[in-house]
Structure formats: structure tokens, C-alpha cells
Symmetry: C2
Subunit: 281 residues, 2 copies
């Protein structure tokens, strides 16, 4: 058990602290929107393993929520988050206000085509512009050696890798495998929205995807397997936004999944809660 | 007279060199598209004054040229540029290829609203997205303490300041006053396009703007003064894209130029050559 992490509220403060720490060793950043769960804490442990000083950012970024999405009810618990981070030995937290990140007159947006096209973008058209812009600002404001993102948001991770390479942002981006409940449900801050009945059904998203991935791996024929998987989820009570097989690096449609690295990605609703998941094929 | 500047062609090389130099002092960057003239060299001298190691980037950025613009005939003279930079004691040059800056799969664009709206954007709609993206990449690839831009491209300088502040890019942006020919014409790499007859007329752009600025300063009544100035330029043979009075910091329309800091900005064609200029009111 370590002490409480130091909290920074401004770009100026956090930048100075990181620059000082980097003179003595590597600094790792874990960007989050708070409401921390075991998935986030696994990223913090990985950051601690890879760097001498671990910074966690907590910022619920309004620009990545669309109209009618869950910005206002998104779970917030800074005190609880700080206690969890203290337990993991995180050294510092960057928790800026909306005004610090988007001051009066803010006018800049970063948009990414390529891996940002389709999938999430078909249903949340402004999502990745919001994500790319805020992640670029978090990386540039803090200036770490490395930043760790969960593979749970696989398209997001791919978009961030693309942006960081394209703009030559001097940071190493590290993806970390999805952390799951014992029944397979991917951890997500949004799981708290699920009713008990929905929570009981939710693991079938991963189970169905894992089965489909295994089928594609052994038999090929992705079209038929995907059709059957979509039907099974629909019958289980999910409303599917998408379930698609894509190239694992570019997220473009994949030809033969037995030749190219492929990833199966899905987003589905249970009642008012939207779940996403993905896995390698 | 100093030695020839060292030339870097890749992000990896230039980043390593700058990081090493920054351990010993400040590094200044002067981003250019080459075809260097006295205006650029004044920026290099200012960079030398403000930093211990001066890097000049030379990159004709294709993404800031529109269809039908002068990308293919834009003047290029790397050997001549290097000789001039050696004469000024510039320490190094970053001259990447188009493939180094925009490799296969490049998918990221930075757009700026606010100061990028109107003026140049009305006539070159994709210009500032091209500029913002390439300048961000040049700043992030090289990683200097400061970067110097000419006020000749005043809207561009304002857009870059906005982007750097918005994204928290860790660099100081410095504007440098426009360098002019003895007859008042602002130095520009595009002045070589002018025919002798056009070159004779060209200084009237600045002369007319200076007169208008003085009139506005003393009498107010900007509308009438601007109308008369536009008419005078048209009669002298210019085809005006715009001549506008704007707030000097935001580039929004300015109320009373005797209360707010104001800037007069214009773009005008002489034959096939487009000239821009601006001055404080």
C-alpha cells in the first residue's frame, strides 16, 4: 500500500512534474474517464511495470459523447478512483476541468480516416474526432514516454496508434488485453447500467463471439458464421449495432481470415446499455 | 561564415539530434517551404538570437495546395537554400521527402475553426487544414523549444498559435515582422512569378493598405475607407480576393478599431500571381 497519488489540475503543473520525473526514468500514462474498475487497474499495474513513475489521467471528455448519449449520467467517483489508485501505487493523477482542456475559444479538431471509418463511426459519427483530439491533448500536455490503452476499445486503440504515427507524437502506445469477469463479460464502466436480468444475459456477447471466432478459425466461411452469430445474439435479447470481421491492423474488411491477422468486433445494446467487445480470430 | 548545415531526411534522425542539442541549450525551428529569401533569413537570424542551435525545415507541403494551385511550379532550389543557410550560420536542415511526412496509410487531419474561418479560407478552403496538420507534425517530429513564423502569413500564424495552445503542443510560437523590398512589397517566394510590369504595380498593394490603415487610425469610418482602397487597387490592375479589417488576435470582425487591436489583411491577384499582405491598424 502506497501513499495517495499527487493530483494535478492544470497542464502547466502536470507538464512540469512529468518533465522532472523523466530526467530520472520512464514515465507511463494511463488515460481514463474515471469510474475505475479492474480493467483500468490492470493498465496501471502494466504502467508501473514498464515505467518508474505512473500517471493516470481522469477526464470525462464531453466531445466524444453524441447528443442523447450518456454524458450526464456517466459514472463519476473521484474519491473512489483515488483510493483505488493509491492501492495500486499510482504516483500521480491528472484530473483537469473541462475549462482547462477546452478553454474559451478552443477551435482545433483532429480527425482520422482509415481505421476510424465504419464500425463505431457508423453509430457514433463524432466519437473518434472527440477521442483523437482529447488523447492528443492529454499526450502532449503530459508528455510521457509511454501510454497504455485497453484493447477493449480496439478500434479506439487502432485510431490512436494511427494518429500518433501520423503526427509523429513522441510517445510509445501500448495496448493491453481486455480484462473480463469470470463469466467472460468485458469489464466496462458502463456495466453498472445493466439491470440484474441484463447482467445475466450480457456474457453471451463474448461467448457468442468466441464461438464464432473459433468457427472462422477452423472452417473459414466467415459470412455464414457471422450471420448465425448475429441471429443468436438477437434471439438472446441483444440489439446489435454491428458484428464484423476486420483486418487486425488496418480495420479494413479482411479477405481470407486464415491468411491475414483478423479481429472480430461487435457493439450491441441490452436495454439502454451499449456493450462493445472484440477478440482476435 | 559557418560550415554547411547538417541535413536530416527522417523524423527519427532529426528527433534524436534535437533531443541531444536540447540537453545543452535552446533549439529554435524555422519551418519553411524552401525558395528562401531575405524574409526567411531574417527568421533564421532571429532563431539564432533566441536559441543555441537553429534548425530550418524545408518541405513543400502538397496538402496545403488546392487543385489548380501552383504546387508543381512552386520554386524549389535546395542547393541554393543550403548555401544561404550556411551563410547565416543555421546549424541543421530537416528536409524530409513527401513519403516520410505522409507514408502509406496516413489518415490524420487537424482542422481549426475560429481564426481559420473566412479570409484565406473563403478562397483556399483546404489550406489551413493542410497547414495545421503539417506544422503540427513538423513541431512534434523535431521537438524544438521555439518555432518562428513570419507575420507575412498573419492568418496562418494566428491559426498555428490557436492550434498549439489548443493541443498543448510544448513549444513557444514566435511571430516575426514582415520583411519588405525598399518599395514596400512584402517578400514572398511567389514574387518570382511576377512579370516586370506586374512587379512595378505590386508595391501599390502595401502602399494602399498602409494609407487605409492610417485613415482608419485617424478618422475611424473603416467601411468607407476600405471601399475606397478596394476601388483603388482594382483600378491599379489588381483582382482582389479580400481586404478586411479584423481583430488582431481572434481575426473575428472588429467593432471599433480605435478600441480593439485591429489588423488589415488582403489578398490580391496580379495576373497569375496571388499576393497577400497585412499590417496593424
Amino acid at each position: 500500500m502506497s501513499g495517495r497519488p499527487e493530483i494535478f489540475r492544470t497542464v502547466r503543473e502536470v507538464r512540469t512534474a512529468v518533465a522532472e520525473k523523466r530526467r530520472r526514468g520512464r514515465v507511463g500514462l494511463v488515460p481514463t474517464m474515471g469510474a475505475l474498475h479492474e480493467g483500468h487497474l490492470a493498465l496501471v499495474r502494466e504502467a508501473r511495470r514498464l515505467s518508474g513513475w505512473t500517471l493516470v489521467s481522469i477526464f470525462v471528455n464531453p466531445t466524444q459523447f453524441g447528443p442523447g448519449e450518456d454524458l450526464s449520467r456517466y459514472p463519476r467517483d473521484e474519491a473512489g478512483d483515488l483510493a483505488k489508485l493509491a492501492g495500486e501505487g499510482a504516483h500521480a493523477v491528472f484530473a483537469p476541468s473541462v475549462e482547462e482542456m477546452y478553454p474559451e475559444g478552443f477551435a482545433t479538431r483532429i480527425s482520422v480516416s482509415g481505421p476510424a471509418e465504419g464500425l463505431e463511426t457508423d453509430f457514433r459519427p463524432h466519437f473518434f474526432t472527440g477521442v483523437a483530439t482529447v488523447v492528443a491533448k492529454l499526450l502532449l500536455a503530459t508528455g510521457p514516454d509511454l501510454a497504455i490503452f485497453g484493447e477493449k476499445d480496439y478500434q479506439q486503440l487502432t485510431v490512436i496508434r494511427r494518429m500518433v504515427a501520423d503526427l509523429a507524437i513522441p510517445v510509445e502506445i501500448i495496448g493491453h488485453p481486455t480484462i473480463r469477469e469470470p463469466d467472460g463479460l468485458a469489464l466496462s464502466s458502463r456495466n453498472v447500467y445493466l439491470t440484474p436480468e441484463e447482467r445475466r444475459i450480457a456474457p453471451r456477447l463474448y461467448a457468442t463471439m468466441a464461438e464464432a471466432a473459433a468457427g472462422i478459425r477452423s472452417q473459414g466461411e466467415p459470412m455464414e458464421i457471422l450471420l448465425a452469430a448475429r441471429r443468436a445474439l438477437s434471439e438472446a435479447g441483444f440489439r446489435l449495432d454491428y458484428m464484423e470481421l476486420r483486418h487486425a491492423l488496418t480495420l479494413q474488411p479482411v479477405g481470407d481470415p486464415r491468411n491475414d491477422p483478423a479481429r472480430l468486433l461487435a457493439a450491441a445494446w441490452l436495454g439502454k446499455t451499449r456493450l462493445i467487445d472484440n477478440l482476435p480470430v
